[in-house]
Assembly symmetry: C2
Homo-oligomer: 176 residues x 2
């Protein structure tokens, strides 16, 4: 094993350009699982960084805020904080913080749950729905322009195989 030969350099020699990212740290002797992981991570980071940057500069918002609003579109009657916390995989305290921001801007509202006075239900306001629609459309066009270079068969196969991988991985998380 040579610790200092980059995997990227080996694979791309004379053909494809080297991409500066996480994957360049692969050294050629990783096991196959690690190579797959680093490659998937670098794909995600390329896109995620771009999306975060555009959400910030074009809409003055963030991915977690977009995510929270997105979750709420599926619960027109409102969603409990604890449910949001579970779906977003962050702690209750963090959901409170993000909700506070969105509430101050009039994008979501807290409703009292009559059946359990400890709980509140969060839902999008009319303004929040309008705002989300714009965000979602912009997001979709960004993704299309970033991924549009991928062949449809590649995309479909990837989608299916990532589904397999996701479920295999999920089942192996200690928390499950």
């Amino acid at each position: 094993m040579t610790d200092f030969t980059t995997y990227t350099a080996v694979q791309h020699q004379g053909a494809l350009p080297a991409i500066p990212d996480l994957e360049t740290r692969a050294t050629g002797d990783e096991d196959q699982d690690t190579r797959l992981w680093l490659r998937m991570l670098s794909c995600c980071n390329l896109i995620e960084n771009e999306v975060r940057s555009r959400l910030r500069t074009e809409f003055q918002t963030t991915l977690p805020r977009f995510d929270l609003m997105s979750q709420l579109t599926q619960a027109p009657k409102g969603m409990k904080m604890s449910e949001l916390s579970r779906l977003m995989m962050v702690t209750n305290g963090n959901v409170t913080g993000i909700t506070d921001q969105l509430e101050r801007e009039g994008l979501v509202e807290r409703l009292k749950d009559a059946r359990d006075r400890r709980s509140s239900l969060i839902r999008l306001t009319a303004k929040g729905k309008r705002t989300y629609r714009k965000l979602q459309q912009a997001h979709e066009s960004w993704i299309q322009s970033l991924l549009g270079g991928t062949a449809p068969t590649t995309r479909e196969t990837l989608f299916d195989l990532l589904g397999e991988l996701k479920h295999a991985t999920y089942a192996r998380l200690p928390a499950c």
Copy 2:
């Protein structure tokens, strides 16, 4: 289009368990690119959250610090800050901050570049190399246990297709 039917629920009905994550926000009417993106993102987040958590609890460190050390293993004679910044895709100021932390702990050292006195070269110390080796071994075993449930043919195909996607996406980034 129905805005409130979750894609996850539709796809998994009666077969696979619903996984609480970003992908649950898909509503069934996204275009194929967006569906692929959300699925890839949720795969990454499942693994990344687990890795971040274990780096913190088991090694009191973080992914960017691990990443920086990892980049340095490929430059035994040292790497410039600006090169690190480019590879890690973060700003110079942030590389300075992470380097400061690692230097305080004796894991990396700054060397003066005789040819350009503005620059410094960063490299792993002996202690840093030992620490990195432990981290890398733990990381590899975590990934193997998380991805080990994936069939080898699935893994190989994913690896190749993600390579395609990565290069197609990279070419479409505005910054390029």
